[in-house]
Structure formats: C-alpha cells, structure tokens
C-alpha cells in the first residue's frame, strides 16, 4: 500500500531543495569566508539574517585554538547596614555530582567562565549582583543590604614543561579579585 504513493520528486521541488542545500553549505562555510570583502558580505546578508534569527551561527571551536588554562569560580560579598557581611558562592560544577553537572553545572560554568567574569560583559554585572542578593535573602531576611561585591577567583594551570600538575591534584589556592561593586541603596 505504502509503495503505491509516488516517490519521485518534481523538478521544481528538486531545484528549490538544491537551493536550500546550497544555502546550508553557505551556513556551514561561513566561519571561513572573507566577510570583509564586498562580494561575500553581500552574499551573506540573507544568510546572516537567517542565522541571527534562529541563533544558528556555527564555529565549532571546542577546546580550540587552545584549551582553557584557568580554573575559575565566583563569589559575592554582601555588606549589611548592621556591619555584618554575607557571602554567596555561585554554583560551582567542581562541587557538583554528575547529575547536577548535567542539569545546571555546565550552564553555570559557561556563563561564569566565559560570560560574567569578562570585563567585556559588564552589562551582566548588575543583574548578577541582584541575583546573589536574592539567594542570600533567605538567611538574612531582616538585614538591609548596602553593597554587593562580585569577586572572581582563579587558578592558572601550570605550564606542562615548567610544573606538571597531576590529574588528581586539586589546587585550593585561588587568586581573588573584586571586579564590581553594586550599591544597593543608590
């Protein structure tokens, strides 16, 4: 019964699909194209509209050109009006189970190590400080927060030729730097 249906394709359909196939080849090849040249920038205008609409830009730079060499986590120190201080540690995949890594760990790793920590992403900092404040609210409900300091803590993986770090060694000495202060009452 099923084979009684016509499986051949009309010529116009084939031409349209071939066009779509080439369109997808352009998408795949985009990362290697000289987009500053007029021909390619014109060619890629419709492709870019499509890509940005669906967020489909491809680069596939997994551990490339070099793997990251910095372990990083983030904390927020909150100053309260009574002089006390509270600290919130942002979820750190290092301390998570495999299940937690799969559900939220990788997302926190990505946004902290490649997003919030970078100076080029200052637009995220106020939201991040407010988020930390909300997380601390349950344990300091009656206190009035004055300032939130965002800190990044990092540890550089030593050069393999200078100081080989064993796989099981976990370095606990991280460098701390406060990169943003949010004044709550301002």
């Amino acid at each position: 019964m099923a084979f009684s249906l016509d499986v051949s394709m009309k010529k116009t359909h084939k031409i349209l699909i071939t066009g779509f196939i080439f369109f997808n080849f352009l998408i795949m090849a985009r990362v290697h194209m000289p987009l500053n040249e007029k021909f390619f920038s014109t060619l890629y205008r419709p492709v870019d509209t499509y890509l940005s609409f669906f967020s489909l830009y491809q680069d596939w730079m997994m551990f490339a050109p070099n793997p990251g060499k910095v372990n990083i986590f983030m904390t927020a120190d909150v100053e309260f009006s009574d002089g006390t201080q509270g600290t919130y540690k942002f979820p750190d995949p290092t301390e998570m189970s495999i299940y937690e890594k799969y559900s939220s760990g990788e997302k926190f790793r990505k946004i902290i190590s490649e997003g919030i920590r970078k100076d080029s992403n200052q637009f995220m900092w106020q939201d991040t400080a407010k988020f930390a404040l909300r997380q601390l609210r349950s344990e300091s409900f009656s206190k009035i927060p004055i300032k939130v300091h965002l800190n990044r803590h990092w540890d550089e993986i030593p050069n393999i030729k200078k100081k080989f770090r064993s796989h099981h060694i976990v370095n606990n000495q991280y460098v701390k730097y406060t990169f943003y202060t949010y004044e709550v009452l301002k």
Binding site: Q58, P65, N71
Partner: protein, 329 residues
C-alpha cells in the same frame, strides 16, 4: 575529468534517490528522547535561568539583542506563568515528536520553544545546544515521521496521513555533511593553536576542575599518553570528518567514534555533547543496517509482549503496532 552530466547524476543520486526512511525515523526517536532528557533536567533551572528572577534579566537580554530573532519571551511580560506555559507546550511537542504524532508540526513547535529558551539566556549555551538547534531544523525538513510513528499507523486508515516509506534522503545527507563539518572545523581551529601541535592540549583540558569527571590518574599523568591522546584526537576527528564517507572505513570509524566520545565522556564532563555526537554517528548506518537492528529489537520486544498475560485483543493490538512497519514492507 568528470563531465557535467555525470556530476548532475551523482548529485541527484546522492540527495534525491529514494531510500527507506527507517533510519531517519529511528534517529527522530533517539533525538526526541535526548531532547526530552535535556528538557526534564532543564525544568529545574526555571528559577535560575528563565524566570522573572533569573541570573540575567529579560530586560538585559532585550537590550543586548535589539534585532529580530526568535524568542517568544520577548512577546510576553516576564512571569513564571509564561515560562511554565512555554515549558508545557515544549514538553508536549517533544512527546509528539517522539511518538511521531503530527511529526513535522511537533518538530516545528519543538524547535520554536527550544530556540526561545536558548535565546532567553544565550550566554549559558555551548556547542551541545547549537547542535540541538541545527539538527532539529534539518529534522523538520526530513521525512522522519514516515516510518516508526503514529502518523504512519494513521496512514493505513486515513488518506491525509498516507506517506511513502521511501523518500529522497537530502535532509539526512545534510545532517551527515553537518557532522563532518563539526569534526573538520574543530580540527581547523585547533591547528591554529600551539597546544594541539606540541601535544599538551589534553593535559590542560583534563586539568580544568569544572570539567573533571572520573579520575584516571595513572593514564592522564603519563606525558607520553597525554601527547598520544592529543594527536590521536586530531587524527580521529579528521578521519570522522572525511574517511567515514568511504564505504570500507565507515563501520570501523563509527565504532572508533563511539569509543572516542565515550572516552571523553568518562574523563571529562561535557554534558550532552558526547552523547549527541554518538547518536549522530548512528546516521551513517545504512537503512538496511538500521532495519536489521530494528527488526532484532522489535523481535525481542514482541517475544517479551507475547509472554505477558494481558487481554488477548490488547496484546494483538500492541504486537500489530510494533510489527506494523515491517508488515507493509
């Protein structure tokens, strides 16, 4: 030299020669299952990443992306009700895609919901999510609901659901080419760095605390092993991007690819990426190989159903549904 006509014939054969849709249908089931797992785990992140009190506010996202892009969140006020409604539609569409019920519509809805959720907080995303979106859009274009689906069963009774079991495999071919591109582009980018050349890349990658999975210290502490693993990664990725198209190498490379990704999964925690790549490698199996595999699984399951004591009519019905696809062929 290859003539223009020969080239056209080869192109036509490669993209348009009708072939059984069972492989892409089986892949649809695997893919929807993967997305379902991702979705269920992501439900726990509503407060942190998608709700009105998320880490990055919706206002900030709107300011950063002022251009037109697919994000349902922008059409509504940020609220938990909106997120739950979106998640509900997303969940239902995944379920429908899995069972192949109104398959293409389900996949379109699934893609819209997925992209909206991804674009709500784009800074969380990695290559895994990009692959989910990229492959789902190809799957929308494919005849993945023509077999192993409720749609195909309905096609026996209702004309509007009737679809041919053999169809042009151009969408499947695009996915296969996309997989090769993933491997080849990553090697291209890696060759721009020093660590992949001098053999130290795996040393640095396995020392990232947030990505550590299980400890394999004796192996990962051997400088010789680290070098071989670094260069071996490049060789494997090049082979998976090129030689997998050669008939003689295809099956061994699928096995090597699975072992390669499982190895990474065991030593490093890169959620979903390795599992996604393994499921994608299955698409290089021919429809005949997939059919033999499916038949053996269905045969075993039918045997199990046969042994269960249930209402005979229901048993017959279940067995008919399970074997249905092959009865027609």
């Amino acid at each position: 030299m290859i003539s223009y006509n020969k080239l056209l014939i080869s192109w036509d054969k490669f993209f348009f020669e009708p072939s059984p849709t069972v492989s892409i249908a089986l892949f649809r089931i695997c893919w929807s299952f993967l997305i379902a797992i991702y979705f269920l785990l992501d439900l726990q992140n509503i407060n942190e990443f998608y709700g009105p009190h998320a880490l990055i506010s919706l206002q900030t996202v709107k300011e950063q992306f002022p251009f037109a892009h697919l994000n349902i969140f922008h059409s509504f006020k940020s609220s938990y009700e909106m997120v739950y409604a979106l998640m509900t539609v997303y969940g239902i569409s995944i379920l429908c895609a899995f069972f192949g019920f109104y398959t293409r519509t389900s996949l379109v809805v699934m893609f819209i919901c997925m992209t909206s959720i991804h674009q709500r907080n784009i800074w969380l995303l990695s290559s895994s999510e990009l692959l989910l979106r990229t492959i789902t859009i190809y799957l929308v274009c494919s005849p993945c609901g023509h077999a192993l689906s409720i749609d195909s069963l309905l096609g026996r009774k209702f004309k509007s659901f009737k679809r041919p079991r053999d169809w042009a495999p151009w969408a499947l071919r695009l996915i296969q080419i996309q997989i090769s591109v993933v491997y080849l582009w990553t090697v291209w980018h890696k060759l721009k760095g020093n660590d992949w050349f001098d053999g130290s890349a795996v040393y640095y990658a396995t020392r990232l605390e947030s990505m550590k999975s299980f400890y394999f210290s004796p192996m990962l502490d051997s400088k010789l092993f680290l070098k071989l693993a670094t260069w071996g990664t490049l060789v494997t990725e090049v082979a998976l991007g090129t030689l997998i198209w050669v008939k003689e190498f295809r099956k061994p490379l699928i096995v090597i690819g699975i072992a390669f990704h499982l190895g990474i999964e065991l030593t490093m925690s890169i959620p979903f990426f390795e599992i996604i790549m393994i499921s994608l490698l299955m698409l290089y199996l021919t429809p005949l190989e997939v059919r033999v595999f499916s038949q053996s699984v269905i045969g075993k399951l039918s045997g199990m159903v046969n042994e269960v004591q249930i209402y005979p009519k229901l048993k017959t019905r279940i067995l008919w549904m399970m074997r249905g696809h092959y009865v027609e062929n």
